[in-house]
Each structure stands twice: as structure tokens, then as C-alpha cells.
């Protein structure tokens, strides 16, 4: 049901596709509003919302550009940001490949099983031979197609002289298929086509679950990412204005930064006076005044007046790029983390292979002949093939991350869950992490008319303080007063006329420690103070963490006073006035002393620490870089998801270990049967599906873990 606006486009008019992320859509009404609203605009051919990834794809003529479409979506009532060419396409392709392989394996499994059942129930002679031939006909292309993900990964591992889970899988599947083909040609009694294909099916199911989970959360996080300064308007000597992309900026250029623009390079202000939103860098959203001579940094957003900025550092020399480099280096240690499945397979694969080899040698020595010895060796490989093991980890992790997502925590991948389960120390940034990071005004002392005038003024502005006032007053159910001639003067405030009297929301005249604004009605002046409240459930979340043996402390770049105040009210240890390098050094000391630190932070100054920590979580309001560096992102105003994440991660690993234990017990019973030469294709098939069902069933218990 796409809303289409049929357009009388002239023949040959070029239609362009643009994609936007619209994080604000939440319901069917939003879908309809966006699609219909866009379709009604001239030049738009069609608009299609993808609700899962919170994106809208717009097909339009070249008379419209991305900017005007963003404005159009804003007019409909949603904040939108253009996305470059689908960045998720690569991950998407991986999932699609796995899904196709899974479908093919499923088809093959069902049909071969159908034929196998009649062989098991006693079909003999020509019928059996015919069925074996048919099975071979189905199995060979299916194994060739569906086995590719495993073969490719196993080949890669072998080329680097390592083994992973895919090596025993590939060897088992290939040998079983080859032996069965031989049996078919020779007219023998047993063919293992069903086992080979069933193995592929179950393993692909695990693999697909894993990939889908990764994709889903990545899409969720991707939709939160905001726009960075990608280009700047530059004035050349002749006074001509041209747009230069961020990487082509050079020191000495003069940038024009309009209100609302993100800075694309570091520089000194040469002309103008404004307020900046530095939340990209510091995570603090309180606007920061800047005037001629001040150095301002790439990533900051200009909230006030247009300014002229002389570039001092551009592209890879900016402060933000320096932090990104620190993060890259810090992240190295994490990439060497070995996931539990791979750790298990390092022990498992050699054990299984030597067992099969020993079985072959043993039966040869016992004089069974090479054919029977080979059949037995392959039966050992098939029965020990880590079918349950392949499902043990992804099944548990997918269920757990689904449960966590419902509680507002998006975990990026399975490795993140494994590392989260191991943390024993938690470090919190203050602003935006322990606190909400947005200024909340104290409005209780305002009288009715004052409140309604304040609301009428504030709601016309996009300044963070105004937005805070609007939100707070609307929540109290205040009705806006009717004002005339409302104006916003950047850096000064808002003015208007109320029944002939001049009213204003302005910067207070006296400097004060807290952020404040004053409301003027006629000559009367009232202060509205702002504070950044601690997240409502912070104390509870910290208590839950310490119950689990995780001690928490604050590491903040903020001044000692405010940090001490927050730490005091929550009863935590604290360290203040830390630079990104200091946080990094602190983490390194902790790791050297054997701790596994969890870092929770939002600003880009936390980025290196987030990348270096054993595991890390960022709030949904954090800077892009922090969200990308962290293992998980939590949404909403509560801190509880952080504590929950650790608890659920631990429970998940407990289930994973149970699954492994089960797989081992299963092997203890099955391997002697195989070694004795008693495993027929029927027994292999039953054992394999039974163990998979048990493992998946055990993992499903995690669905309630987050409650």
C-alpha cells in the first residue's frame, strides 16, 4: 500500500532515489503521515517507509534535493537525516545468502528424509537403490550450495593454519557425502545423505539467527546516528562562496558556518558571536557561548548566529580525528578476544579428528577391511559433528538479545554478550550517562500566567533550554498564552508582546553557577533554574550491579564539585577532571591488575575508553562515535538496562555452558556406539535432531531472563 502520486513527468526526466532515516516514527499513523505527506509534494514520485529500519526511501525528480526533502519531512512533523548509500547493504547480503542456503538445505532435508524413511523401514533391492540415487541427485547440489558458508570459512581458517568450528563440519559433511556417493555406486546398504544435509540445515539455522540478530540491532543503532559536518561553505579571496567537502578543507580557509550547521573542521572564530552545542565532543548539551578568538572544534553544532571561522586543523588533524585514532588503537585488544564457540572448537576439533583417525586405524588393525573401517570413521565424524554445538551459542544469544531489546537495550553481537558477562568493575561517565544529559527546568515556582507566557515563548525556538522549558510545561498541562510579534535573537533570547506588555526569555544578567534563564514580563523578572537530574533509577541499577559483584565508580571529565555531588548522592567512588588519555590509562591499569572493566559513557571524550574497556555501553543520546565504539546502546531515561545487561549476559553464558555440557554428555553416549560400528544412518539422524531440539529448548528459557 504505497502512497503513489502519479506525476506527469516530462519524458526522460530523471528520477532519483534518496534515503532518509526518521528515528521518530513509532506507529502506523506515522507511516501513513510520512508516505502521504511526501507523496503530496510536487516532484516526489513515491515514498516508501521501512518501519523496521526507521527509514524512508523517496523517489523524486531532480528538481528536489535532499535538503528540501528533509525540510518537507520536518514540515510533516518528523526529524530526518539523509543517509548515504545503504550502509547496511553488506550485512543484508550476508543474511540473505544464509537464508537462501537455509531454504535450499531445508528443501533437500525434507525430500531426502522422505526417501530415507522408506529405506529405514525396510525397502530393499531396486527400490533402495533407486532411492539412494534420487537422494544423491538432491543432496549433491544442495551440499554444494548450502555448504558454501562453511567451506569458505574452513578454507580461510586452514589457510591461516588455524582451526575453527567450520573445519570439522566441512570435513564431516564432505566425507559423509563422498562415502554415500560411493555406497550408491556400489549398491551398498547405507547412505548418509540425510545426515549430511540435516547437519547443514541445523548449523545454517544457528548461523542465520546469529547474523539476523547482528543486523537488527545495527539497523536500530544506525537510525540513531546523527549527521556530522560533512562539508563547509568556504569564502575564497575573491569573496566567492563555494561548498568544500570536509576532507578537502585546508588550514587557513575561511568557513561560513550558518546557524544549525555542524562544524566540519577545527578553527578560530574571526567574526561573529554565537552559542555552540558541543554534545558531539563532550556529551553535554548545554549550549556553550563562543566569540571572536575562541577555538571551536569539528562536530560542534552552531546554535546561534552565523560566524566566520578560520580553519586551523582539518580532515585527519582535527581534535575529533585524534580521538578516533586513539579509539582505533584502543579497540585492537578487543578484536583479539576469542569467542567461546571458537575456544571450544580449539579443543573439540583435534579431539574429534584424532578419535575418527583412531577408529579407522583400530578397525584396520582388527582386520575389518578398509571399506568398513572408513564407514565407521565417518560415522564417528558425523555423530560427533558439532550440531548441538553449532546451535549452543547462537540460540541462547539470540533469545537473550531479543529479551534485552524489549527492555530497551540493543546488543550489537554475540561477542558483546560474552564480554558483558565477564565484567567485574563498572566505570560511569557523569553527564548524559548517570544524569539525563538534558537540562530540566525548575518550573514549580511559576504562576499560571507566567507559565503560559513562558511556554508561548519557548515553543517557538529550537534552543535546548527552550525545548526543555516547552517539554516541562507541556507535561504540566500548561496552555500557551497568545503572544504577538515573537522574535528570536540568537545569543540573547526570545521576545514578544503579551497584551501590550513586552515579555522575554533571556540570558540572566548576573552570572550564576547553574544554567539559568530569566523570564521577563513587563518590568518583572523571574529566574528559571535548570539542572541535569540523575537518572531516576540510577541508585537501583547500581545496587543491582553490586549485587552481582560489580563495583561502580564515576570517571568524569567534569570539574570536581559537580562530580563529587553526584557521587555523594549515589555513594560511589569518583575521579574527576580526567582527559580521554587519563581514562584510557585508568582502564589499562585496571586490565593489567586482572579486572574486566565495563565502561558506560556517552561523549566522544569517552570514545577511546569505550573502545578499550572489556565491554562498553552507551546511552541512546550519545555521540555517534561513542555508539559505534560501544557493544550495546540503551534507550530511554532509565539506567536499569545497564544492570540488566550484565545480569542477562551472565545468565546467557550459563545457558551456553549448559548447552555445551549437554553436547558433551551426548557425545559420551554416542561416540562408543559409533566406535563399535553400531551407528546406522537412522541412529545418526535421530541423535542429531534430538540433541538440537534439546539445545534450542534450553535456550528458549532465556526469553524470561530480562524480567
Amino acid at each position: 500500500m504505497t502512497a503513489h502520486a502519479t506525476l506527469d513527468t516530462p519524458e526522460g526526466a530523471k528520477l532519483l532515489d534518496s534515503r532518509f532515516t526518521v528515528p521518530g516514527m513509532r506507529c502506523a499513523g506515522c507511516i501513513a503521515k510520512i508516505e502521504r505527506g511526501l507523496a503530496g509534494i510536487e516532484g516526489v514520485d513515491s515514498a516508501r517507509v521501512n518501519f523496521s529500519s526507521k527509514r524512508v526511501a523517496v523517489r523524486h525528480t531532480d528538481s528536489l534535493d535532499e535538503e528540501s526533502l528533509v525540510d518537507a519531512i520536518a514540515a510533516i512533523g518528523f526529524e530526518a537525516q539523509p543517509v548515504a548509500d545503504n550502509p547496511l547493504a553488506k550485512d543484508d547480503r550476508e543474511v540473505k545468502l544464509l537464508l537462501r542456503a537455509l531454504a535450499v538445505a531445508g528443501f533437500g532435508m525434507m525430500n531426502i528424509m522422505l526417501l530415507s524413511v522408506s529405506v529405514w523401514s525396510g525397502a530393499g533391492g531396486v527400490t533402495r537403490e533407486l532411492f539412494h540415487w534420487l537422494s544423491a541427485l538432491i543432496a549433491l547440489p544442495v551440499v554444494a550450495y548450502s555448504g558454501r558458508p562453511f567451506f569458505a570459512s574452513a578454507a580461510m581458517a586452514l589457510r591461516h593454519r588455524r582451526t575453527n568450528m567450520d573445519v570439522p563440519i566441512s570435513i564431516g559433511v564432505l566425507l559423509a557425502t563422498a562415502l554415500s556417493v560411493y555406497e550408491t555406486f556400489a549398491g551398498g546398504g547405507h547412505a548418509y545423505f540425510d545426515s549430511a544435509v540435516m547437519l547443514l540445515f541445523f548449523l545454517l539455522a544457528g548461523r542465520t539467527l546469529d547474523a539476523t540478530m547482528r543486523n537488527k540491532t545495527r539497523a536500530g543503532i544506525g537510525s540513531l546516528l546523527s549527521r556530522m559536518g560533512k562539508s563547509a561553505a568556504v569564502l575564497d579571496e575573491g569573496g566567492n562562496r563555494r561548498v568544500v567537502s570536509a576532507e578537502d578543507l585546508e588550514p587557513g580557509m575561511l568557513m561560513l558556518v550558518a546557524a544549525g550547521d555542524a562544524l566540519a573542521a577545527d578553527g578560530d572564530i574571526e567574526e561573529g558571536e554565537t552559542a555552540l552545542d558541543n554534545s558531539m565532543l563532550t556529551g553535554e548539551s548545554a549550549p556553550h557561548p563562543a566569540t571572536v578568538g575562541d577555538t571551536i572544534y569539528a562536530g560542534a553544532i552552531n546554535l546561534g548566529n552565523p560566524v566566520r571561522v578560520r580553519v586551523t586543523a582539518a580532515a585527519s588533524d582535527t581534535a575529533i580525528a585524534e580521538i578516533a585514532r586513539l579509539m582505533d588503537e584502543a579497540g585492537q585488544s578487543r578484536s583479539s578476544y576469542v569467542r567461546i564457540a571458537d575456544r571450544a572448537s580449539r579443543l573439540y576439533a583435534p579431539a574429534v579428528h584424532s578419535l575418527a583417525l583412531m577408529a579407522f586405524a583400530g578397525w584396520m588393525i582388527a582386520g575389518a577391511g578398509w571399506h568398513q573401517s572408513l564407514v565407521i570413521a565417518i560415522a564417528v565424524l558425523i555423530i560427533t559433528c558439532p550440531c548441538a554445538m553449532g546451535l549452543a551459542v547462537p540460540a541462547a544469544q539470540v533469545v537473550a538479545s531479543g529479551a534485552l531489546a524489549k527492555k530497551g537495550l540493543l546488543v550489537k553481537d554475540g561477542s558483546a554478550l560474552e564480554r558483558l558477562s565477564e565484567v567485574d568493575v563498572a566505570l560511569f561517565d557523569k553527564t548524559g550517562t548517570l544524569t539525563l544529559g538534558e537540562p530540566v527546568p525548575q518550573v514549580d515556582h511559576l504562576t499560571g500566567p507566567q507559565a503560559s507566557i513562558a511556554l508561548a515563548l519557548a515553543r517557538t525556538s529550537r534552543h535546548p533550554l527552550s525545548r526543555g522549558i516547552t517539554k516541562a510545561l507541556e507535561q504540566c498541562g500548561v496552555q500557551a498564552a497568545k503572544l504577538a510579534d515573537v522574535r528570536e535573537e540568537s545569543g540573547k533570547g526570545l521576545t514578544g508582546l503579551f497584551e501590550g506588555a513586552r515579555v522575554a526569555l533571556a540570558r540572566p544578567e548576573t552570572g550564576s553557577a547553574n544554567i539559568a534563564t530569566s523570564l521577563m514580563i513587563g518590568g518583572e523578572r523571574t529566574q528559571i533554574l535548570f539542572e541535569d537530574p540523575i537518572r531516576p533509577d540510577a541508585a537501583e541499577a547500581l545496587a543491582t550491579l553490586s549485587e552481582g559483584g560489580v563495583s561502580s565508580s564515576i570517571v568524569s571529565g567534569d570539574f570536581t564539585g559537580p562530580v563529587q555531588a553526584v557521587a555523594g548522592s549515589l555513594g560511589m567512588d569518583w575521579k574527576a577532571e580526567l582527559h580521554p588519555e587519563d581514562k584510557l590509562a585508568l582502564l589499562d591499569r585496571l586490565k593489567a591488575s586482572g579486572s574486566r572493566p565495563l565502561m558506560v559513557g556517552d561523549g566522544i571524550n569517552d570514545g577511546p575508553a569505550l573502545a578499550a574497556a572489556h565491554a562498553s555501553i552507551a546511552p541512546g543520546g550519545a555521540s555517534d562515535v561513542s555508539q559505534q565504539a560501544s557493544d550495546a546502546v540503551f534507550l530511554g531515561s532509565g539506567l536499569m538496562p545497564v544492570a540488566l545487561a550484565v545480569r542477562v549476559a551472565r545468565k546467557t553464558m550459563q545457558i551456553v555452558r549448559q548447552n555445551f555440557a549437554f553436547a558433551i554428555i551426548y557425545n559420551v553416549f554416542a561416540v562408543p556406539l559409533a566406535l563399535a560400528g553400531l551407528v546406522t544412518p537412522l541412529i545418526a539422524a535421530i541423535a542429531m535432531s534430538l540433541s538440537s531440539v534439546v539445545v534450542v529448548g534450553n535456550s528458549l528459557r532465556l526469553a524470561k531472563a530480562a524480567q
Partner: protein, 50 residues
Amino acid sequence: MTGLAFLIPIALGLGLLGLAAFFWAMRKGQFEDLDGAAQRILIDDEDDEQ
């Protein structure tokens, strides 16, 4: 036994049909937006004509 000559091709054919349908659905993007499909059912058609 002669029944098999019909039944096996039919069984295989039906299976292949299902597989082909799944591939078609995937290529057409039927699984692109599962949450959206659940929401779209709630959109009223009436004001579509506006």
C-alpha cells in the same frame, strides 16, 4: 511400485515450488520490513483518495 513414478516427482515438484516461492518472495523484498507490515494493516484506506 508404479505409483512411485508419479508420487516422487510430485513430492519433489511441490518442494521445488515452495523453494521457488521463497526465493521469489525474498527477491521481491517481502521480508524487508516485517515490523512495518504488521503496522500497515492499521492504516485506514478511506482517506487515501484525498
